[in-house]
Symmetry: C2
Subunit: 244 residues, 2 copies
């Protein structure tokens, strides 16, 4: 039996870290949904950078750079944090540096892990299927909001955990995972409605980003799984997927 | 409108701290249930101390001292962490120093707040009633388990939040509070059953502490509210309660 744990805040990840575990980083609204979308639509590599200054250095080096803070695209960069930016044939084969309020900080916190995957509702079943073949422990790292718990990332953690537990290959004694599972079961038939009152949905609604939210809360629109290799997130290739 | 926030880990409390807020510290199984019980049954003061070495100094000074780690009473001290220790007429008027795995660390984290109250299911409605009269923001600080989220403290946070929201005097934009409220509504008719799978209930069950758990999960058995004054937790006196 392998175990599942859920960490609700990048600031607490040191309490969870296990060398051998697979870490799934999630920032549903919107960073990891965007990364999944970019890699799925042909972007070669996404380089997560924590700080805006580092993002500016990438810009100066000639990279395409996405930079968002508090849900708003930062001036002088190519993209903000909308997944729709990346549905663009011209980006095929490109490398893009990305810095966001929470998601890229979470990748940074997880960097020491042997395997770091990027999760979102878009690829949740594909993720569960691949992970279930690995015979390794799993830690879901929720990006949250500025190191605080958020609902949408926890719902994803609960959903992934439910799918893994259903395989019979995993167990959990982790209260965060149990709580997230309960929340997911309440919400799964209407994620959008369930998140009506959540803080970040309100934040994005005020910015007229309802389309982004609908897109990010739609399950299983792709089977692409981004994985951290060296400095960047790339596609976990089909051979790896089928090889398990 | 005053606000309600919930902090799931003492290690994240710095993200929440507001000078003027009332902080409710909770460690349902079992530290804050024990503190409520002690003060209710006539103990004059409970001095929370974070470390065992400090606890030993109190012992050397002649104090009665409770000391628990990982649910087990530590050798050389008078009490462990069972609330039943404190249902004892001989303790009336006494001062007891107490050091536990999580609860006293949480009080330590909250110490800078202007008002620190001790919560448990035993006094949840009395707490809600008093707080509702104060016209101040509230932060529930869950002691958790070694800085990780736990279910029972979150359920308490959800229950207190539901009671406060029902007064119409409070609102919340805090996702941890919203999630805790959903969990409480699922669990409130059978807290004991709901926690069947929780990590700490299993831990205590293995130590044959089922009676303690039943006791700690019974709502509204007292109206006593412990409050931090200087170095110790004492009874919030009736005049303060009725004066609001």
């Amino acid at each position: 039996m392998n175990t599942i744990q859920t960490c609700y805040s990048p600031a607490l990840f040191h309490l969870f870290a296990e060398d051998q575990a697979i870490v799934v980083v999630v920032d549903v609204l919107r960073a990891t949904s965007g990364i999944c979308t970019a890699i799925h639509h042909g972007v070669e590599k996404m380089i997560p950078v924590a700080g805006l200054e580092e993002a500016r250095r990438y810009k100066q080096m000639g990279y395409l750079v996405a930079a968002e803070r508090n849900a708003i695209k930062q001036e002088g960069f190519d993209f903000g944090n909308s997944p729709f930016h990346y549905i663009d044939e011209d980006l095929s084969g490109k490398t893009i540096a990305i810095s966001t309020t929470n998601g890229t900080q979470a990748v940074e916190a997880a960097r020491s892990a042997q395997t770091v995957l990027i999760g979102s509702f878009l690829n949740i079943s594909a993720l569960a299927a691949w992970i279930a073949e690995q015979e390794r422990n799993v830690i879901v790292l929720c990006a949250g909001w500025k190191n605080k718990f958020n609902l949408e990332d926890s719902l994803f953690a609960g959903g992934l955990a439910e799918k893994l537990l259903a395989t019979g290959k995993f167990s959990t004694m982790c209260d965060s995972t149990i709580a997230a599972g309960y929340l997911f079961k309440m919400a799964e038939n209407d994620l959008y409605g369930f998140l009506e009152n959540s803080s970040h949905r309100k934040r994005l609604k005020d910015l007229h980003l309802e389309n982004d939210i609908q897109y990010c809360l739609t399950m299983d629109t792709m089977t692409t799984i981004p994985i951290l290799r060296g400095d960047g997130l790339v596609r976990l290739v089909k051979e790896e997927v089928s090889a398990g």
